[in-house]
Amino acid sequence: MTRENLLTIEGLSKSYPGVKANEDVSFKIATGEIHALLGENGAGKSTLVKMIYGLVRPDEGRMILRGQSYAPSEPREARASGVAMVFQHFSLFDALNVAENVALGMDNPPKQRELAARIREVSEGYGLPLDPARLVGDLSAGERQRVEIVRCLLQDPKLLIMDEPTSVLTPQEVNILFDTLRKLSAEGTSILYISHKLEEIKALCDEATILRRGKVVGTCTPREKSAREMAEMMVGATLNSPERPAGELGEVSLEVRNLSVASANPFGTSLRDIGFAVRKGEVLGIGGVAGNGQDELLMALSGEARTKRDSIQVNGTDIGEMGPNERRRLGLVTAPEERLGHAAAPDMSLMENALLSGDVRKGLTRKGFVDWGATRAFAQGIVEKFDVRTPGISTAARALSGGNLQKFVLGREIMQDPEVIIVNQPTWGVDAAAAAFIRQALLDLAAKGAAVVVISQDIDEVMEVADRFAALNEGRLSPPVPTKGLTIDEIGLMLGGAHGMHKAEVSHAEA
């Protein structure tokens, strides 16, 4: 295919104190091409697209858009030149409706009624049905993403940048999104697609540029490469899949019965009548699209939210009314999804953060007095065993990169030799090699006889580690089924299918 170049990037570099985020990055995007930007977390993908979108200024290098020099100083200028971006984290207001949210993101919004009509027209034209009058707080994650996409499409972009768009979608919703993107591409809109999900890139993208440590380390045509080959280009090393030592399953260690918890947050999800049991040595995977009750489930299990006494049992003891530390004493530890502010205190040192949840099981206090020597040794042990890259254990948690902090948090819980461990999004934002290490550590715990619950939005991860799979959908949990032989379509249906595609929006009203 010989297509005209839309955007040419030449020698872009950007440094932050202590890091070169991008170094001499060059590539081209043709008109109507779907171009993948591939790389691990911290490879410099975000900095690169921020430069294209005018949020960050390059130190060196230049960009050429449609034959003209292009150096946006702010996103408004980028949008005026026809560059639009859908962020990984949505910037929407729950309490406003769809049309109002769209208007807030536009430079010159038309009148509400006119805008509503255009939203309807554009969203249906691209197979992304949206009701402009609905409150964003009532929408599913997939629908929220549609709001962001439609907001971009209304500006008629020439280049659409999408940052990790599928992390919040069910497989069916992913297919719908891909149909939309292909349609856009056929109409001549170029798409810069950022992801580390290789199968998706193979299915969707025409070309790929691979970044590692801020530099371009290769380009390829994804259809012609295997996922493994691309992963190895990304990581720069060969990868090992986690191994599952065969072990006997023991008796039931964690049992949850009729667990219902009302969400503390008006836009949160209440848990309804959840029940499952995990045996010693077993890994239960709980999949689900973000915002379907994962956070609430973790807090109910950790003891941050109390439940009815007999809703949760650990080795036969009712723990529903116990706090986090009493549960830890019984051998139950958890790792929440949100690292900064929930699993770890941002301004505290790693040493203090080791004390945060390690006190009870590691015996870090005596009569209430902290044994800083033991705490230091514990923190140092986590850093070494889990390869946490940090100048030292007196560094503040917020100074670590997301992936490194995740390793620290997971390591802190895993090294407490738990009998029951519940983790939410255990490898979120962690590079491929470290993710493999964390999964292996979880499997090793199971092999030693721990009951493991992995809550994750990454279906591939769940399939890789879990013995049984259950789906969390609007606060309800499907009955767990063995993962062996489960197809991606079956999983998709368990996850609740494609939200909103059956025009079943009425059912949301009761929620």
Partner: protein, 362 residues
């Protein structure tokens, strides 16, 4: 162009440098204020900061420093625990007054009995009075989720009303010819809080302040409760994850700061103030908020800050008698200190970058 850049970790240098910078900026701005009032700014600053330490009457004023610094440190160190946990007790002044009223009431109830037990029991009653007054916002907050800032502040005015009732009614000196005010504790040895060493200003309240500083230092550095207090203030969700019960912390922090403020009150009424009077309330409870922040919410820092603040009190009094500076100007001066401190705190979390406009848009 000036630009602010967030530091990856807070600067250690600036977290201790800002109080010094704030004091310096306060001197400059205060000097300008005094100049506008038609006074010699250099003389005014010298009267406030130099004379109490090295001036003609320093032999007396130095002692006054401890008298003022004692209650400030005692109250501020208690407040700092709550402030670190994100629990804002603004009503220490009320707890201070109630401590004085409770303590004085116990002492005066047994007048003129002489017993070694009377003074210790008064001290306990004072601590209890402050604690009770602080429990009101604590229980309202944990039960009904009211705002402790408003409740504790409002209770200051209730306490002031009770104080004036005490001075003119139930604690009034029956032999006082109808004048408001209680009996004087200096004439009642069993209940008197005297200077331990004559001329130093050192009384039992100052000793208590030292003990409180050491206690809080150990609590924050070595004890799990201190860790939980810091954690709850910095990351409330992480605190819950760590098993901290927020309600327990509210009761603990408000209770402790209330009890310490009550102690300050009873030591003051039985010592330097000498009696319950209508104007017993001297603003220590509010000034202690400034002291707590000036001392970085750190017990040792608070000790230093209470001395600096005491200096502005003692020096301020000198400036108003010698130079005729209005009292309000001194209060404005103290307020500026907090203002500059909070402003300068930006430096510990942000770096200021100077950039040339030309370079950016090349």
């Amino acid at each position: 162009m000036l630009r602010l850049e967030k530091r990856p970790t807070p600067s250690r240098f600036w977290s201790w440098g800002t109080p010094v910078l704030a004091v310096a900026l306060t001197m400059i701005a205060g000097g300008m204020l005094f100049a506008l009032l038609g006074k010699d700014p250099f003389l005014a600053i010298k009267t406030i900061f130099w004379d109490p330490l090295f001036g003609e009457f320093a032999w007396y004023l130095r002692g006054q420093l401890l008298v003022k610094a004692g209650p400030l440190a005692l109250i501020a160190v208690g407040l700092s625990l709550g402030f670190r946990a994100g629990i804002w007790n603004i009503g220490a002044e009320g707890q201070y007054i109630m401590g004085a009223v409770f303590g004085a009431a116990v002492g005066l109830a047994v007048y003129p009995t002489e017993s070694r037990l009377i003074f210790p029991v008064m001290i306990l009653a004072g601590a209890f009075g402050g604690w009770v007054w602080a429990m009101i916002p604590a229980i309202l907050k944990t039960r009904f989720n009211t705002n402790e800032i408003l409740v504790s502040l409002m209770l200051v005015y209730v306490a002031e009303t009770i104080l004036s009732k005490a001075a003119t009614g139930f604690l009034r000196n029956p032999e006082g010819h109808g004048f408001p005010g209680s009996r004087s504790f200096s004439n009642y040895p069993a209940a008197h809080n005297p200077e331990i060493f004559a001329g130093t200003g050192m009384h039992w309240g100052v000793v208590a302040a030292f003990i409180a500083v050491i206690f809080c230092y150990v609590l924050l550095q070595r004890h799990i409760v201190g860790f939980q207090i810091k954690l709850a203030g910095q990351a409330p969700r992480a605190a819950r994850f760590a098993g901290v019960d927020p309600n327990r912390l509210v009761v603990l922090c408000l209770g402790l700061s209330g009890a310490l403020a009550g102690l300050a009150g009873v030591f003051e009424v039985s010592g330097p103030a000498g009696q319950i009077s209508i104007d017993f309330s001297s603003g220590y409870g509010f000034t202690a908020i400034i002291v707590a922040f000036l001392g970085r919410l750190n017990p040792l820092g608070i000790l230093l800050a209470s001395l600096v603040m005491a200096l502005t009190y003692v020096g301020g009094e000198g400036a108003s008698t010698d130079l005729g500076l209005p009292k309000a100007a001194i209060q404005a001066f103290q307020g500026m200190l907090l203002f500059f401190l909070l402003g300068a705190d930006l430096l510990s979390n942000y770096r200021i970058r100077f950039t040339l406009i030309g370079k950016e848009t090349r």
